[in-house]
Symmetry: none
Subunit: 313 residues, 2 copies
Amino acid sequence: MSSVKPNVEPRHPIGVVSSRTGLPQDLIRAWERRYEAVKPGRGATGRRLYSDSDIEKLRLLRRAVAGGRRISDVVAYPIERLQRMVDEDRAQIVAGAPRPRIDATGAGAQALLAEAIEALEAMDRHRIEQVLREAAVELSGPALRQEVIAPLLDTIGERWEDGSLRIMHEHLASTIVRSFMLANRNGHDRMNAPRIVVTTPAGQHHELGALMVAAVAEESGWDVYYMGPNLPAEEIAAAVRQVGARALAVSVVYREGDHIFDELQRLRPLIAGIPAFVGGRASDSLRDRLTAAGFLCPADLTEFRSELQSIVG
Amino acid sequence: MSSVKPNVEPRHPIGVVSSRTGLPQDLIRAWERRYEAVKPGRGATGRRLYSDSDIEKLRLLRRAVAGGRRISDVVAYPIERLQRMVDEDRAQIVAGAPRPRIDATGAGAQALLAEAIEALEAMDRHRIEQVLREAAVELSGPALRQEVIAPLLDTIGERWEDGSLRIMHEHLASTIVRSFMLANRNGHDRMNAPRIVVTTPAGQHHELGALMVAAVAEESGWDVYYMGPNLPAEEIAAAVRQVGARALAVSVVYREGDHIFDELQRLRPLIAGIPAFVGGRASDSLRDRLTAAGFLCPADLTEFRSELQSIVG
DNA sequence: TTTTCTTTGACAATGGCTGTACATATGGGT
DNA sequence: ACCCATATGTACAGCCATTGTCAAAGAAAA
């Protein structure tokens, strides 16, 4: 496993922050100057250096403003409250939202991961959700995926195969993580963004990998058409065509014989000319044959992100 | 019910209120000026700031007026009474057809449904989402399910079987509706509520019926453990036991031979003593045998809701 | 050198407020 | 049938505070 990544340590220049939040640089500076929205550190020569949680806050502010709030009203709210408000605005419902208090223990990603597994073993839905919420506050989006959710899925996979977790555990984790990630989708402008279809080929029922892919693509500014798991090759091709997608990404977790490879090979000519990514556990063992067949097989989500950007760039 | 009172503290600008209620800003101001429909607070520079219960009242007023009431007659009623009246009006409208006078979006439930189907045919994700959001403003939660989402799923089912919609359409609709319904779960205090497990038996990949069931149960105050689709009998039973559920609900859409019935029959003794609901399209043709086997088969969601209440009552 | 940042000040767009109209209904009363 | 008062949704003008954007000029990094 990788090491814990506290939310305040890593520092980014304003350009990165701008592209990750979708906010113009000028606006970020204006928000700082006028409202102290965030207080980034400074380098030796006075340049701004933002932490991951700064980025997270700016993201939330952007969504809050897009939802009709006034920046001066919301700028002082803590991250948890912003998150809550943005969720409600998205759903457009009028519900008193109690949300259990979280006493932030400042626990690192590993501790969060361990607690999530423990809660899962106990089938304690509320505790799993709480851990995820806590993690979302503690870590930024990418770190959350990389340090908590991905390892969580890996662990579940392993422990399922060795029999110490059951199908029901996997299902519960899936639904909770799924709704969690869907709830955190950014409501960006997306109308004119390049489109990407994300799904899982026929026979592949596990969609969490695909969900993470969708989250990364969305963060990179794409208009994501998430189609859920278990879609036959012809349907994938039809969706790509109909939607006018500029890329396709599928996630493959389980490899039983060559069935999956055959399915993908059938798919490839149906979407000629469109870059197609294959990711997930099982893609490792198939990488050579897949790349030979014309698929792109990034090793991890970071690589996927940069390859995505090279398409539109 | 362990729900929390609607926050009076947080305050929303008029733009947010307008989009959440579907009322034009001018009209909101007019109702205040002429009838004191609500009395929002004011910010430092005189801008209106509304509370959650203000929004709730405005939504009810809108629906009361849409139901043929005169604004001046109903404007003074307290929220509870408005709620009751609006519910009654809706029940009557379903029977006869008094004409709504306001139709801000120019669309009744049927028109919304038609537009949703059209958008789905075009694979236009944003338009589908837009229609659902409009519908959520237009209609209350139960009405939304009953008059838009349920018919939508039925239509999709039919048109899939006759070949005029493809699998990809069904998948897209599933993911969108799913994330929409999950986003609308409101954060009540569910810690001490009775628990119910909701899922779909092995071989049943269509989860939308189960999602609607979950929404109804959640609305009725249950702590819902939604497990996603395609869960084998032993796993369902294990989940029920581990979670300590007081009820189980499964949704069955497709019937291929007697496979499903066998699966359910295998399940029944594993969860002895716990009420188990079976719903969905395919449950009709199996009703007699299922009830004989000890399952409850409500005809629709309304019946399901009342049977649910009789369990805890 | 070229790119990326920084600060400062100015400017224009946005959106909300009040107040005043205006155009249809709706409902009597004659 | 006719006429009028009232009810109600909508529109706009003029004003103000807020807020996004831009330009200029210089410093630091690549």
